[in-house]
């Protein structure tokens, strides 16, 4: 059985799954940037003392799972979310849903995902795909980061749905429960809600490690690492920052470009000139993240390495923090009525 599901490639998996599922349920209006912005996806956090693959843990976006949840919530769309302790039950539930013509979002680990190239198969468990059909023992899969749809055998799907380790999916599946259109008014309200929540997350989250202050925190850490760590470890840490910022799923520039695109699209629903000028500020932030990446690569490849070069990296990050702070303050000052 095969549902009439439209596969659209996206930059980020969870955005893509969210808007593809909403599209399938009848609304053609929610694009990837809208899902990301309404879900208040932009973030920055650096978690000291926690290591991922022996490198620092940091993220340029909010917790996995939140984008779908927040987007549905802000749009006033009910949804179902379920985890399982039994693999058999997880498969049965999925099969039943498919029979009811429901396309289902699934959280999966990428380590055992057969169509990923070996170089990308880390134990990362917060990837998202849509299952939109089953033919014999094969599930039809729409992975939003892929240009085309793909397939997984029931064994392969079970393996990735029950991948273990940090953020283990435990068979997590989810889908929106509605059909029909989403009104412009719903979208307008959701956009405002999403922006306000993102302002809160980036500017007012307590503590030094998250939001705009998190960017300054890691700028400072880079200086400390350079003094304290051996060269090899220092390079590994820098490379990790760049990977998290630029790797597949970020749309480049640590999600900043997707957010800038969101503000442009928001303007179509709420014609406030400020949205366009603030969008430009996020484009600028994204460009600066990318030039930071170029210089950081110079350091971890050994082309640059003087104290001045390291100071320069920290300086660039602080400049980015300034721009993002300014942009979010401007967003918080928009009068919506």
């Amino acid at each position: 059985m095969k549902l009439d599901f439209n596969h659209n490639q996206s930059a980020h998996c969870e955005n893509g799954v969210t808007c593809n599922l909403l599209n399938y349920n009848g609304s053609k209006k929610i694009t990837e940037p809208l899902a990301f912005g309404i879900g208040s996806g932009l973030f920055f956090i650096f978690i000291p003392f926690l290591k991922v693959n022996n490198s620092p843990a940091l993220s340029y976006r909010i917790m996995p799972g939140l984008i779908f949840k927040r987007t549905c919530h802000s749009l006033g769309i009910p949804y179902e979310k379920k985890r399982f302790s039994s693999t058999q039950e997880a498969q049965n539930t999925l099969d039943t849903l498919l029979q009811k013509d429901i396309a289902v979002g699934c959280q999966v680990g990428v380590y055992y995902l057969p169509y990923f190239p070996k170089e990308y198969r880390f134990h990362f468990n917060a990837h998202n795909i849509v299952v939109y059909g089953k033919e014999d023992d094969t599930y039809l899969v729409s992975d939003p980061v892929m240009e085309t749809t793909t397939q997984l055998s029931s064994y392969e799907l079970e393996r990735v749905r029950f991948a273990k380790g940090a953020l283990a999916p435990k068979g997590n599946l989810y889908y929106p429960k509605f059909d029909g259109e989403i009104s412009d008014e719903q979208i307008r309200k959701a956009i405002i809600k999403g922006i306000k929540r993102n302002v809160r997350d980036m500017l007012y989250i307590p503590g030094p490690i998250a939001g705009v202050s998190g960017i300054r925190y890691i700028a400072n850490r880079i200086l400390v690492w350079h003094k304290k760590l051996d060269t090899q470890t220092f390079r590994t840490y820098l490379a990790q920052i760049i990977r998290m910022q630029e790797e597949i799923g970020t749309g480049g520039g640590g999600f900043r470009f997707i957010y800038a695109a969101f503000l442009q699209e928001a303007y179509a629903f709420i014609p406030k000139e400020e949205l366009l000028t603030i969008s430009e500020q996020f484009t600028q932030a994204g460009d600066l993240w990318r030039s930071f990446a170029v210089d950081a690569a110079g350091v971890f490849k050994g082309r640059l390495g003087s104290q001045q070069d390291i100071d320069n990296l920290a300086k660039q990050l602080n400049a980015i923090a300034d721009i993002e702070k300014k942009a979010f303050i401007a967003l918080s000052k928009i009068k919506w009525n």
């Binding site: 240009e147 480049g252 442009q264």
Partner: protein
Amino acid sequence: MKLEETPQDKSALEVMTKELCYVVDENGNYTKSLSKGWEVKAAALDLAWDDIEIRVESARQKVLQGNASPILYYMELKIMDLSIISAYTGFWTWQIKRHMKASVFAKLSNKKLQKYANLFEVSIDEFKTIQ
């Protein structure tokens, strides 16, 4: 990032898909564009894999010298850590640490070895003999 700046460098991702990026066109409007890869992030990924290779090789030497059991080698080879092995095998992390000692490993029952071998996708014989 401008449309015409979309990087098209060599990358490991090429064999799988092109990556979607959000870029600005000549009128300042956002649009989508597909990228083959970017050398900066390819370099970051290469470095991550160089690190893994170094860790695998150092684990292999430890096993050959009798300072660790093959579990350490396979943990590095499969980019796992104690908590991941623990989640898949059901052993506690302190047990796994113990099993990583060559002397303890030598006395492990076939049943326990089989759990590890299943996770590392090797036969017990392969598992025991690291070249």
